[in-house]
Symmetry: C2
Subunit: 97 residues, 2 copies
Amino acid sequence: MCPKYESAAELLGKKWTGLIIRVLLGGPKRFKEIKEQIPDMSDKMLTDRMKELEAIHIVKRTVYPEMPVRIEYELTDRGHDLEPVILSIQDWGEKWM
Amino acid sequence: MCPKYESAAELLGKKWTGLIIRVLLGGPKRFKEIKEQIPDMSDKMLTDRMKELEAIHIVKRTVYPEMPVRIEYELTDRGHDLEPVILSIQDWGEKWM
């Protein structure tokens, strides 16, 4: 259990990460659309978190060469698989915190 | 979701916490018995974590007035309810990390 559990749990415990993943469980989103759903988070924070999530292949960033350029963020399979984890943490938090 | 999710996820992301809870899902244990199952963790770390978990009512500490005194740690209901959370994090970690 040890190192894998802890890497995963540490990731999910970072501020905003759970919420960002939750927003993206609703489908691909642009930066602005994510921000709209998490208004208290700064642009810099969202940028940082998205880079982290991209680096560990939980989020995929796609650039559509339109005019103006459109950039969308979506969960990878690995990211989608976090749904039961996030829901179980949320259930527990709502019941007990 | 926000603050409750994050408090819960932050708790579970602390080093050793998931593992300690997992050991205690097996039933009440003495300090030594927990240590035996997590040999890489220092005594001080286990002491600190147990105090934290006691403070937030996830672990209950019972002193049995025997000779010598016996002290046991067990999960509260709130702690037991973490089982599906820990299992889901572990499943995800094993599949994807």
